[in-house]
Point group: C2
């Protein structure tokens, strides 16, 4: 029985400081050629496969063990519960897309196992449930107990919103009540080595209206950097959150934490936290974001590097790109500024999507921008955070397509869909968005209010489109304000009004900031929201490392429905070094400079979308290409 | 009482397959302005400070605990014994430079403590001696038991060679006999997660003539990659050593292992191992060596990267640069080829020396080629491998200045010194080498045989000198064969003959191989054996990241006796970006490319030796500088 309440992903519908409100993701049906098959694959392939992983790794059996239904050993790591919770969350958002009695039954069965594992006092973490009960809460630095409850809460809220069911929500509430008693605001400082619970608690507040969860979230934020943990940058515990000004430490930890800061600002308007999150976003977005939207440059500590440390072999954990979206989405809800939308679009199409094989069964944990050919996706990981994180993001994607505000409706992602939305006054409006993006820029939006209604339709102008598109309605050119990344079209909309626009999709070679030494004199080729790369498999006769661009390449897009599940490739004429080792053969790695080694031999090169690399035979890959 | 036998560092004097023989490091006195103060500081500052560290960290107390003289807990890590052994080795080589009753007494006291800690069955590792005796040899993958014995053997051999004392040698022999019994060749496979014992065993064979140590070393080499360990690349256990063709895995482990392969080849001429080590050296020297001689690009696993993965933020562990020298020295002894000598010279002056502060008290573990200003040397590390490794290398440095062969004497490092050497027939020859290198290329060598004698004096022509220098003896130009990196001057030498030559020291901007994407269109400035860098402290008005070279800079060397303990700086006129963030201020990290962002403002820049960076106020540092 679906809930009668709206089912948003992040529910700012009553948040006093939110500029934007979410829409009900149950009312959005993705229809386009790019995303529709991906969401179907997420539902039909990835979700069942991940359920199997939760079975075979023993992550599910851990709950039976905690409920005294299994007497085997604990399986996996002390945060294995979170794999199951992320699966529940992904499955729950998936249910929003349509009935599936089989999935409902499986979800109910899993939730029953989770509920049975909860201790009488509300505590829930299967690692500590049986033989390690005495170790509960003895190691906040390492053990992820609150982190797991965070994913439990997110799963419970998703399940409640999409099904109306309360069983898991009640489990989550009891678990949070236990934590509230143990680490009571203003009395006992408490926070977790791995943030997650903070943003979950704000969402729990939104779902239940119980303000103590917001209080607890704020308390946990403010317990950080104050001696509860180890004071390390790795845990983002090096300073009180309100005094942090640079994005540093473990990337996923940092961005989960800052997403919660944004959540608290949405609810409380706390000016201090607002300045904090603005400064941190500035550092992240100006200095520490890869061209793919991937973040967290360093392999050591899965962490952020220094400003402009954006190397080829970036770590760029898939979870960090997802965390980047979670943070940007909250800041978008707060401000309605297109910069955050652009960041989401880039991270989604490149930094996140790269984490998933085209067939939906294998995953990248790290997403470097160049590789020699050994980095390959895997079915699962002993630290399995990324795969179900992708699944839950994709399952909830319909919730990111629109927002609403008092002024009207906002398109946030140009993904083909049919949606039944509501204006602030309750008027129903059907939107049908048709597009062949990310490949071609034509977009049409048919607007069908239940009766003629005046409101503003906000249409994003992505940074990649470079220029403001012409808007036509019924064939007539319409003037529209350009505000902070959006064209605002205000009018009285009549049923069937169709907005048409064509976003320019020029090939855009991007350079990194001149202080980013590693990519000096190299470009990353992009078109629309898509970042491209060269793969060796497309260049059987030319080592990709020897390819040089001459500068003003005329890249020719070509739609290749037969390739990599239907992509647009980019082809150009470039140059190749004829004797990369010099006339003397394989020499030392360093030689005296004597003018630039200019490549002179012509070669045709074909770039493919970065998200699709490593789906064919292994070989070198490069995003940043040297200029000759 | 010094031993009457020669005291070489690596004793190939009886190795059937060695082209070169070592000299007795007790007969070499370093006299120049660059190295003499450094060796004095090693003796007077670093060694006492490291002894104190062994005391305060409890590494020394662990031996008393193992001898039942202390009932405290074990201190440090399971390989802490090796800190003490490396200190003994460093102190022993230091004694070769002259009497020091105080140091002798301290050494004797430490050795007594080590000896007292040995179990009756010969086993020696203080981590396992008391409460963990049952865990001996249960974890060859992780626990470093053989590794520690390796350092014990190296210390014992050094102590025996420089003092004639046998106490520590007997301890080492008993420890090795225990291992021989436990992991007997042809019966029980055995090898250590961290190589070290292998090359030590070959040296023990050389010191004692007992062939079973060579047999055991070979057995340990051949036990690798065969199921004894975990099969990982990290442990260099991914394949049998004889089938390894690429340098991969943990850099120090790999190069300690391959140094032992070279040692076995020196003794046995094993053709299979020779091909192996040649192929591995090729991969190392052509694809995986930083411009500083640092090796091991990756922070994850302290490991080698792919071919041409030579990033700014290289890991380049100090111990790996030392291991690079240990391997190259053995290959030099095997072949007499100047390529290995060049590698040693580069690694010594840059990759290793950078690991030590100018005052001799602080150390780098990692040696990246660029930094934002936070990477600083430390007094010690919880994993303290690097500091005493530097100390033992510097203490043994006199042993690397010369080699001998049937043809004559070989200068290997142009370091000012006075040495009393012997020809193959026993004739004594005093050599006095005077030079102001690494700053100026003039070298004079006064040759004083006890009586006129015909032999060849080999004088290296370093790669950085670019051209063959003119050789004068008594003012007369002398013809000399140029063979494999050396000028071979054969004549009947009379007492007082003085060879004079001037090596060219042009400023050499080096570029990396064109397949090394990270340093594309950037140069590293070098002069003589020294690699330079820019430090922010020398450019108060110009962010070093904004500096661009225009190409054919005219770098002006200037000797600055007042700076960084007396160095030659390089100054030039370059350009600086006037608006690195563009006219719009701090923008996103990636922008559309529209032709190269050319720096137009003139600026004077001053480069300092890389080894001396981070000895003044913290700030950004760069080795590779972008071309405009």
């Amino acid at each position: 029985m679906p809930s009668e309440r709206p089912s948003p992903v992040v529910d700012t519908s009553a948040s006093p400081h939110a500029r934007l409100r979410p829409i009900d993701l149950r009312t959005v049906e993705v229809t386009d050629a790019f995303w529709r098959p991906r969401l179907r694959r997420n539902r039909e392939v990835t979700l069942p496969a991940q359920y199997e992983q939760c079975e075979t790794t023993g992550a599910l059996r851990n709950f039976e063990r905690a409920a005294d239904l299994d007497d085997g050993p604990f399986n996996g790591r002390y945060y294995s519960d979170s794999d199951v919770y992320k699966w529940i969350e992904a499955a729950s958002w998936t249910l929003a897309g349509g009935d599936s009695p089989e999935l409902v039954a499986r979800l109910d069965s899993v939730i029953k196992r989770v509920a049975a594992a909860q201790s009488g006092d509300g505590y829930l973490n299967t690692y500590f449930s049986v033989d390690r009960a005495g170790e509960r809460w003895t190691d906040l630095v390492v053990r992820h107990e609150m982190y797991c409850v965070g994913h439990l809460v997110q799963a419970a809220v998703a399940h409640h919103r999409t099904t109306g069911g309360r069983e898991l929500l009640d489990v989550a509430l009891r678990a949070c009540a236990h934590i509230f008693e143990r680490f009571t605001p203003d009395r006992v400082p408490g926070t977790c080595g791995h943030p997650c619970l903070e943003m979950a608690l704000v969402e729990l507040y939104r779902a239940t209206g119980e303000r103590r969860w917001l209080t607890l979230a704020t308390w946990q934020l403010d317990s950080r950097g104050r001696g509860v943990l180890d004071g390390s940058e790795y845990l983002v515990d090096h300073a009180p959150v309100r005094r942090q000004t640079e994005v540093t430490g473990h990337a996923v930890r940092a961005l989960y934490l800052y997403a919660a800061v944004a959540d608290v600002v949405l609810e409380t308007g706390d000016e201090d936290l607002r300045r904090t999150v603005d400064a941190l976003w500035h550092d992240l977005s100006r200095h520490k974001t890869s061209v793919t939207g991937g973040v967290g440059a360093r392999w050591d500590g899965e962490s952020f590097g220094d400003a402009y440390e954006l190397p080829d072999r970036a770590y760029n954990e898939t979870c960090a790109a997802i965390a980047h979206i979670l943070l940007a989405w909250r800041l978008l809800l707060l401000t309605g500024a297109g910069e955050y939308r652009d960041a989401i679009e880039t991270a989604l199409h490149n930094g996140v999507l790269c984490g998933l094989s085209l067939d939906g069964t294998e995953f990248f944990y790290q997403n470097p921008l160049a590789d020699a050919g050994r980095h390959r996706r895997q079915e699962w990981f002993s630290c399995a955070c990324c795969p179900p994180n992708i699944a839950r993001l994709l399952a909830s994607l319909p919730g990111y397509l629109y927002t609403a505000s008092d002024e009207g409706l906002w398109i946030q992602l140009y993904i083909g869909n049919r949606a039944d939305l509501r204006l602030a006054d309750g008027t129903a409006v059907r939107l049908e968005l048709a597009t062949d993006l990310p490949w071609e820029g034509a977009v049409s939006v048919t607007v069908t209010p239940e009766q003629p209604a005046e409101f503003t339709l906000f249409l994003p102008v992505p940074a990649w489109a470079e220029e403001r598109p012409v808007i036509r309605i019924g064939g007539e050119i319409v003037e529209a304000d350009h505000r902070d990344g959006y064209l605002a079209v205000r009018r009285t909309w009549a049923p069937g009004d169709t907005v048409e626009l064509t976003l320019a999709t020029p090939v855009r070679p991007l350079v990194t900031h001149p202080r980013a030494a590693q990519t000096h004199h190299r470009v990353a080729v992009t078109r629309g929201p898509i970042v491209y790369c060269l793969e060796q498999v497309d260049h059987p006769d030319t080592p990709v490392a020897d390819i040089r661009l001459t500068g003003a390449e005329d890249w020719r897009p070509a739609r290749r429905t037969d390739l990599l599940g239907d992509v647009t490739t980019l082809t150009t004429s470039a140059r190749v070094l004829s004797e990369p080792d010099g006339p003397e053969g394989a020499g030392p790695p360093h030689r005296r400079w004597s003018g630039a080694a200019t490549a002179t031999t012509d070669v045709t090169v074909t770039a493919v979308p970065y998200f699709a690399w490593a789906n064919r035979e292994p070989g070198p890959m490069r995003v940043f290409l040297p200029l000759n």
